[in-house]
């Protein structure tokens, strides 16, 4: 395995040296069932390396400088720090038990981890590798979204069925908003004016006013010939200019493209099976989706809203991030 990794790194190094990159982005995909992270070269549109990690990797993030990957390995009760160049595990963060996913603060210093089994959030100082605080929240905390001004964290709890608004400075719960069953993901508009929360079993996205803490719109989905109960929204991403939102619809195998002005679905894009999480490239031109049951990621052109390609990764891909370069 060591040889394989070294070899892949060499390839990657060569590729970086040789190509004049149109995009030159690297995507990292956590494979829940394989205990690996796939390294995907977005110029070549192929997986160029596979990094062995701990058990049940799900949440994944990259530090703002692009040098380190953080991966939640829930069954090992830790977060691993991976060197983006050497692909070696260089350390761990004291995540608390069963970390599922997390959000990195805007400046890359604080990490907010949902401890799914313990109804709490652990706040970690990433450079110091130290847990600073734990904040009690709802049962089975999951989605995490940090406001653009870095002041408010929104956390969703899958069994309590709420979006919890947490003051980052005070490390304290401000208020909670009840949403439909099994909220999975919280995403802030880039301008900070709204928080969108997906409810996997409710089949909806709740648009929340983060000042009034009220649901202002509820977005529903309908795909012709498909039962409403297989439409299960999970991941949400906003385009750079906030004009579009993308919502991954799980076993409906589609990404809904929503016009954020009218809250209407403009288009459904057919991707791989059981689409969950998504990531935009830093230029905002490409969207990647993880497709848990078809073991691939789909590459979507944000400009013309078409699916360009599927790239094979490991088994049960869960999360995806794109490193800045």
């Amino acid at each position: 395995m060591q040889a394989q990794v070294t070899c892949a790194c060499l390839l990657l190094a060569l590729a970086a040296a040789a190509a004049t990159p149109a995009r030159a982005w690297t995507a990292y995909v956590s494979n829940e069932r394989d205990n690996t992270v796939s390294v995907v070269d977005l110029d070549k549109m192929t997986t160029v390396a596979t990094i062995p990690v701990g058990q049940r990797p799900r949440g994944i993030a990259v530090t703002p400088d692009g040098k380190q990957l953080l991966v939640c390995v829930g069954d090992d009760n830790t977060i691993q720090i991976i060197d983006a160049k050497t692909h070696g595990v260089i350390g761990e963060l004291p995540s608390g038990p069963d970390p599922e996913t997390f959000a990195l603060g805007r400046e890359g210093k604080l990490l907010f981890v949902s401890n799914e089994d313990d109804a709490m959030i652990t706040v970690i100082d990433v450079p110091e590798r130290k847990a600073l605080a734990t904040i009690p929240t709802g049962v089975e905390p999951e989605g995490m979204g940090v406001s653009p001004d870095n002041r408010i964290l929104v956390n969703t709890s899958e069994t309590t069925n709420m979006a919890h608004f947490i003051d980052i400075g005070e490390r304290k719960l401000v208020t909670s908003v009840l949403v439909p069953p099994r909220p999975r993901f919280a995403a802030w508009r880039n301008d900070g004016k709204e928080v969108w929360v997906s409810s996997e079993l409710g089949g909806t996205v709740s648009v929340i006013d983060p000042v009034a803490h009220k649901i202002t719109h509820t977005i529903t989905f309908a795909v012709q010939g498909m039962r409403s109960d297989v439409i299960q929204p999970v991941g949400i991403r906003f385009s750079k200019d906030d004009s579009l939102a993308f919502v991954a619809l799980g076993p409906a195998n589609r990404v809904a493209v929503i016009d954020t002005a009218s809250y209407k679905v403009r288009k459904y894009l057919l991707v791989g099976q059981r689409v969950w999480q998504m990531a935009l490239t830093p230029d905002g031109k490409t969207l990647l989706t993880t497709n848990g049951l078809s073991n691939d990621i789909s590459v979507i052109d944000v400009g013309d809203l078409t699916v360009e390609k599927a790239i094979h990764v490991g088994r049960e891909p869960w999360g995806v991030v794109v490193a800045p370069q």
Binding site: P97, D117, D118, H164, G202, D229
Partner: protein, 408 residues
């Protein structure tokens, strides 16, 4: 086990301390919530301890009750965060043969109470009818009796447990998909076994399977495994299953654990067993880890140091239904809670791939059924391709056009 590194926890866990801390953080809000009246949930708890064929299946004394306790804790987290009244659970015991009405003293002065019943159909009906004038809602978490969803249905009974028809349909869909459509039906001599056999006959007809022969296994009261049991069983079961017409799968209907557990590996013909042994249709299995199930199993095992049974799950679901309705309707009034539950907006999540809702024609909870081999989940019904105009969950059990229930 999946998580070897986690140390066992005794006494007040980190979570309890943190929750307490959370309450302190919430300060004034928490104090106000404590002052508000609680939502009281009663649990009529059968103390019946019938023998089981396998020692592994012998139920814990808190079977079912543990599920309700966990859900009360889950509900309390929600109510604390919403600054709504909390929940309290009262356990009431009942022994087979006792008059169930005598056990209901704790409900005196509790009009509109919410009562979970872990009872067979007959005493359950007696309880529901006796409490009707007091607007008590009974949550049936145990009985699979189809009559409770049919001729004996009641407006004040909510059926959380799946019916025999739902369980039989769930298994039938899978066997038909597998093309194992020739069934040898073996049922026991108890009335419940005959009703379960009826459910399998109905499922066979509905989904295109054929029952090639039926046999009755009499409960003579001597078939439990004992010192010499293994030797005896090894002789009896092949003889009993000898000379059957060609069949694909043996379907066992044995709700009293008399013989089904002895069938696998002992039949005359080498055939798989399903129904009450082998591949079983269940409301829950302690190995189910999909759709977030791993988290629930982990929470349960940490708290109770044992696996979560179908009865635990049914009790958990009933209490979560109450919690979900109460928080969405923002009320602690039992009548309004039940009103919301019976309304169009109600849904509850229970780690089974989709949201669960109530059928308005018999107040049965729609739910996927797991097919378990005792070690893991083999499949989940409804199976793909069994279509329905409203929801595919209604391909399991008695659908609206065929119901004999007149809610009163």
């Amino acid at each position: 086990m999946k998580r070897p590194k986690r140390p066992p926890r005794n006494g007040p866990g980190r979570r309890d301390v943190l929750l307490a801390l959370g309450a302190t953080l919430l300060g004034v809000q928490a104090a106000r919530a404590e002052a508000a009246p609680e939502i009281r949930i009663f649990y009529l708890h059968s103390r019946e301890r019938a023998p089981t064929i396998s020692l592994l299946d012998f139920p814990a004394t808190n079977n079912g009750l543990a599920g309700a306790e966990l859900a009360v804790a889950d509900d309390n987290t929600t109510s604390r965060l919403l600054n709504l009244p909390g929940y309290a659970l009262t356990d009431i015991g009942w022994r087979p043969g006792d008059d169930p009405l005598a056990a209901l003293a704790p409900l005196a002065g509790q009009p509109g109470a919410l009562l979970l019943c872990d009872l067979p159909a007959e005493p359950l009906l007696k309880v529901a009818d006796a409490l009707r004038d007091k607007s008590v809602t009974v949550f049936n978490i145990k009985s699979p009796d189809d009559a409770l969803r049919g001729t004996d249905c009641r407006a004040n009974i909510i059926n959380v447990s799946p019916s025999r028809a739902m369980l039989a349909d769930a298994l039938a869909q899978y066997l038909v998909w597998k093309k194992w459509t020739r069934w040898l039906l073996v049922y026991g001599s108890h009335p419940e076994d005959a009703r379960l056999a009826d459910a399998y006959r109905r499922s066979a007809k509905r989904f295109g399977a054929r029952i090639v022969q039926e046999r009755v296994y009499k409960d003579t009261g001597e078939s439990r495994q004992s010192d010499s049991g293994i030797v005896l069983t090894q002789q009896q079961i092949p003889l009993f299953t000898q000379g059957a017409p060609d069949y694909d799968v043996l379907i066992a209907a044995d709700e009293h654990e008399v013989f089904a557990g002895y069938l696998p590996y002992r039949t005359w013909d080498p055939r798989p067993v399903a129904g009450s042994a082998g591949l079983r249709p269940v409301a829950w299995d302690p190995s189910s880890e999909s759709w977030g199930g791993a988290q629930l199993q982990d929470r349960f095992v940490r708290r109770f140091h044992r696996s979560m049974t179908p009865l635990d799950m049914q009790a958990w679901t009933a209490v979560r239904m109450i919690g979900e309705a109460a928080s969405h309707a923002a009320t602690s009034d039992p009548a309004r809670i039940v009103g919301y539950m019976k309304g169009p907006d109600f849904a509850v999540a229970a780690y089974k791939s989709e949201k669960l809702t109530l059928r308005p024609w018999d107040w049965q909870l729609r739910q996927p059924i797991l097919l378990s081999d005792g070690r893991m989940v083999v499949s989940v019904s409804p199976q793909k391709g069994f279509l329905h105009q409203v929801t595919e969950l209604d391909t399991l059990g008695i659908d609206r056009p065929e119901t004999t229930c007149k809610l009163k």
